[in-house]
Symmetry: C2
Subunit: 328 residues, 2 copies
């Protein structure tokens, strides 16, 4: 009985699982960022290879016995990603040529055994898909921090930073976010003014914020959720939830009500956002079956089985999730 | 009678003028970008030196006779800017040590001989200042494309690009901006769809837009003004005008009504925006004396005279503007 490798390569961490063709998860491991855009192709490939090797070791099977491999990962192009991933796996003795699948599809199949429905993912970025007969047939957003990703971790963190700067600059309303953001850099929220009439905290904050890559502003998203009662923070969260509901609505068709699978770090960590999205959905008459998944590793296993000719029906899906819990 | 050098170093071009201590402009020249943030310190310094040398040649005076030099430039810090500028001038035989002044102050003094009032500048970025007794005493915005610059060329161009992408992605309303933006890259606005259900134009546009530096999205600001009647474009312009009025209001005090000097490429080129700002001002009871200036070169000359101990009163100011027109 051949074993299969399934990898869910995300921006923060990468998860690998070894699964039998009957749907038993027999080895699991994690490593660092496997997203080639966030971490660079070489670092991403190293994370994938490290987690895969550790999962295979945990399963107690020889690497060369792995008969098939699926990598669920965002942003892989033949130019920058495929070659690096394939080479890194081969260097670890994993001879199966990996099949690349969408991370959004892996999220979807982590939440349901059905072959049709929706997935909405909000981590650093944000996107929604409609799935029919097991394939993505419509996609909305996922256009990156500069041109899209409405409602994402970047979107929220960027608004937090802009709101704090506007407050310091006397252009925006007072908000707790200012003190909280300055504290992230070990700065006090003092209002000492420089000779140009501007608080000196402004230039210190600018130096700190322009020193990181723009997309890293996503790290400040959590501040919005840690300021209950703050009107500025509340309005940022409300706008984000509305944007995510809108992105999801863009791929929803009236003929298909669900299931709706929610994933990604920004959604997983912030129940407020999930509740608002579910409520937005109930109002739109699509209340059915909103569920949240921690990551896409179950879905990656579902896709690995499918690649091997095995359909993950309800029995196999339940076996995957139950056995994963024992090895995780 | 010693001659003075005044340089207005902007993001798009640099203007130098040689002025006598009586306020006669006797030589003028232009060169490329003199903004160290936009062009890099070495390129910016080369532009400043090139325009200064050409202005001195046009004036027909020996470079070593220049008794004082003022450089009006944004974003100069001792670390990155001052040394490069001073060295570049010295290499051209201009021995006067340049005095650095704010580009915002130069814009203000390009529009008035008075020593108190306001300036609002919107080019790629946007900022407002209050001037009292010839010095900046309050500043709003100017915090850069990522964290501020509300209403600026970047702000408008970024919204144009996001609106076009949202339209292509079926998340946003249909807008002429989509066709116009695609045409900038020589693309058609066709709606052919890829296997993920998304128009193929989406990935082509993303490739083109992520290939430029984010701040260069400012180049698409003009599209918003070239789509009359388009609701999306109109709302972008309305939001930008409101943001600029808000930035200006942040530095306005009730005791001082003006003058209000408007400058920067985004304002100069788009009368619509100026009219909206003037109207916003009239509503706020500060209708007085809104004027637009093409650049900050007159103000740089005013500051060079001041540095030499000469006050540019109304007579001198009028002489500066009149004589500049003859050498320009």
């Amino acid at each position: 009985m051949p074993e299969l490798l399934a990898v869910d390569a995300g921006g923060t961490s990468t998860r690998s699982v070894v699964v039998t063709t009957e749907g038993h998860c027999i080895g699991y491991a994690r490593a660092g960022s496997g997203n080639p855009t966030a971490a660079g192709p070489d670092h991403a490939a190293a994370s994938v290879a490290a987690s895969a090797t550790a999962a295979i070791a945990a399963a107690g099977v020889p690497a060369e016995k792995i008969a098939g491999a699926v990598l669920a990962v965002a942003g892989v192009s033949p130019q920058i990603g495929v070659r690096a991933f394939s080479a890194a796996l081969k260097a670890r003795g994993i001879i199966a040529t990996p099949v690349f699948e969408s991370d959004l599809l892996a999220t979807f199949f982590s939440g349901t055994y059905r072959d049709a429905g929706y997935a909405l993912v909000a981590g650093t970025g944000a996107a929604a898909v409609r799935v029919e007969r097991g394939s993505i047939v419509a996609t909305a957003d996922g256009l990156g921090w500069l041109l899209g990703d409405s409602g994402s971790g970047f979107y929220i963190g960027h608004r937090v930073a802009r709101a704090a700067m506007a407050d310091l600059d006397n252009r925006g309303p007072a908000t707790d976010l200012t003190r909280m953001l300055l504290a992230e850099f070990g700065q006090e929220g003092g209002r000492d003014r420089g000779p140009d009439g501007r608080p000196t905290a402004v230039s210190h904050a600018l130096d700190a914020l322009y020193a990181i890559r723009p997309v890293q502003l996503a790290r400040f998203a959590r501040l919005a959720f840690e300021a209950p009662g703050d009107e500025v923070a509340e309005s940022i969260i409300r706008d984000a939830a509305n944007a995510l509901v809108h992105t999801l609505n863009t791929v929803v068709t009236s003929g298909m009500r669900g299931p709706i699978v929610l994933g990604g770090g920004t959604l997983i960590r912030h129940r407020t956002l999930v509740d608002r999205i579910a409520a937005g959905y109930a109002q739109d008459g699509v209340s059915s079956a909103v569920r949240t998944v921690a990551d896409g590793v179950v879905g990656a296993a579902v896709l690995a089985l499918r690649e091997a000719g095995v359909t993950a029906d309800k029995v196999v899906f339940d076996r995957l999730t139950a056995s994963l819990a024992t090895v995780r």
